[in-house]
Symmetry: C2
Subunit: 366 residues, 2 copies
């Protein structure tokens, strides 16, 4: 584990100490990766007690009421850890000042198995403590996101130079994912979304065997994962030479909404105010039913993480928080428009929000 991870774990240790827990068991994979740089399947991280951190593997909890002989029934050796030491540490935490666990991730069965090995101990809730630490990104993290965005733009740009009419959504999606990897991505950041004709503009659409036709709107949403960091870019195009009047009108509207959202990004601005800025042009034009419950969200080690940009969101933006701004309108049966960028929040003195995904947002006719 590198220096940066050790600093992050020290910050988590302070949070635990403040809440009275001697140690924390981190199970959410993105959180384990954030704190250690690695996230083996089934791996968990025990932070503390004291200065010690141990990577452990958790066994599947038994069905029903468990009575494990000792903690070694719950904790497996990890490649670079010692199960006996981990079990002893875990037992010490449980019996001493308590162990904080991620109740938002840990299952009821595993929680019960932990409780069963130490009567009368204290299991506290770590809540979203690690997620909170992950909100503001450091230079290294933003550098990885920048490369992820560059790869995504490259893959999208290449697709636009190829023949699209007659190809299916599924094949376009697969080709984009191959291009992401060709350009150095670990893999796609999320399942690539390609929607054409009546599927265009839908917020969540799994690619089908529908083929691209003349006159279609074509919405593409993709993103690279680079060194674990995930970004997204989404664009809508028109197939053929001349967009219809309704297509131009709808595109201009969503473009205006997306620009308003981007321009609203600044440190100290409430997340719900960014959402309102993005949403307002669309609702004013009467598109209320057609809107998704959010207009953007944080990105990082997960493709959808805090902060949420939605009407009910709490909290304010900070500098160095990467978010998406991704309004869209989908008209059932007709299709629609979605425009999606990844940006990093920056103060005006630093030039305002940094746009990571730079593919043009002109309405291209392909």
């Amino acid at each position: 584990m590198a220096e940066v991870h050790s600093v992050r774990r020290a910050r988590l240790r302070e949070r635990c100490a403040a809440s009275g827990a001697a140690a924390a068991l981190v199970t959410r994979p993105a959180n384990v990766r954030y704190l250690t740089g690695t996230s083996p399947a089934g791996g968990a991280l025990l932070v503390g007690p004291g200065e010690r951190d141990t990577l452990v593997h958790l066994r599947p909890p038994p069905d029903g009421e468990p009575t494990p002989a000792d903690l070694r029934d719950l904790v497996l050796p990890s490649p670079d850890g010692d199960a006996a030491v981990a079990a002893a540490d875990l037992a010490a935490s449980l019996h001493a000042d308590g162990l904080a666990v991620e109740e938002n991730h840990l299952t009821v069965a595993r929680h019960r198995a932990l409780r069963s090995v130490a009567d009368g101990m204290r299991l506290a809730d770590l809540g979203g403590a690690v997620e909170q630490l992950r909100l503001v990104k450091d230079d290294q993290e933003i550098a990885s996101l920048r490369i992820a965005a560059e790869i995504s733009d490259q893959a999208l740009g290449e697709l636009l130079e190829s023949i699209l009419v007659g190809r299916t959504e599924r094949h376009l999606a697969l080709e984009l994912e191959r291009r992401l990897v060709d350009h150095g991505a670990d893999g796609p950041a999320f399942p690539t979304c390609v929607g054409t004709g009546p599927h265009s503009g839908a917020p969540r659409h799994a690619p089908t065997d529908r083929r691209v036709e003349e006159g279609d709107f074509l919405t593409v949403r993709l993103g690279a994962c680079y060194r674990g960091y995930r970004c997204e870019v989404g664009r809508t195009f028109v197939i053929g030479t001349a967009p219809a009047a309704w297509q131009i009108e709808l595109y201009d509207l969503v473009f205006a909404a997306q620009r308003a959202g981007r321009e609203a990004l600044a440190p100290g601005v409430a997340c719900r105010d960014v959402d309102r800025a993005t949403r307002q042009p669309l609702t004013s034009a009467g598109h209320t039913e057609a809107l998704a419950p959010w207009t953007g969200h944080g990105v990082g080690l997960e493709i959808d993480e805090d902060p949420q940009l939605s009407p009910g969101a709490m909290g304010k933006l900070d500098a160095c928080v990467p978010v998406t701004v991704e309004p869209g309108v989908h008209l059932p049966g007709r299709g629609g428009v979605r425009i999606d960028d990844t940006l990093v929040v920056r103060p005006a003195a630093d030039g305002g929000p940094e746009l990571l995904t730079i593919t043009t947002k002109e309405l291209l006719a392909l």
Copy 2:
């Protein structure tokens, strides 16, 4: 929801009634899909009370100690359900005879949120009740697995006809996944594993940028997902004209182990005995350190489901249970061999185990 799903839900309802719960909240995605044919992200299924079943969406539980005003803070409308009805049903279950939840899947935070809306109600554990129902597959499920296997064999067969030397593991894996989709798969059943040279034969290997070289072992493990059903096939090849003596010897050994495992499959046989049959030739030859903790597992809506074929496994095989038999030996620094088939357990009177993945297991020199 089709007739088959309604029959499955009726069976689950009987299990609930037997354990005294008025209703069950099913949250594990594969279980929701098994009972309804669909599994929207964040979707859950409320089975009961009475004859009623409702698809619901669960809101993310609040951080810390929640005090929701009512159940509508937890349950969102689903596309084809009514949130108010679902909330009312949920409340009725909670206040009446209790609600069974999947403690192996439900998080502690969500469990607490459910409890907080109804003081004094009974939250029971559904355990692995749906997983148990899923063990033995019906004709339709096996037909889907057969097609998934056929697609996997096709993709693998095409790869073998192409030039391999000089290509990277990552590109071979991507090409295989594209071919799966070309032949009609929903997508890959799991991340395709390609390991060459020192990476060959490893039980879990993420493809790297290493290129295939003359004299390498090349291990490929892939599978199609078809209508939700997932299978796997794994083969090891030699690159070049003449395998080395150690390669032939190791291949013959793993082949013998895999055949012993396949031949051990029969209704009524203990899962651990199948594991022992597969493992014994390898341990006799002194490969104890190099072995994975399992030699096979069930497949279906998940790529790794019950039964487990491992030394500690409980239970016996039934007819119409699809499993993998996948022994392998990996020698650190040198590589190894892995051979992996998907089969359906059948009684001897029906011709014994049905091999779904029919790609040759001869040692091919490519």
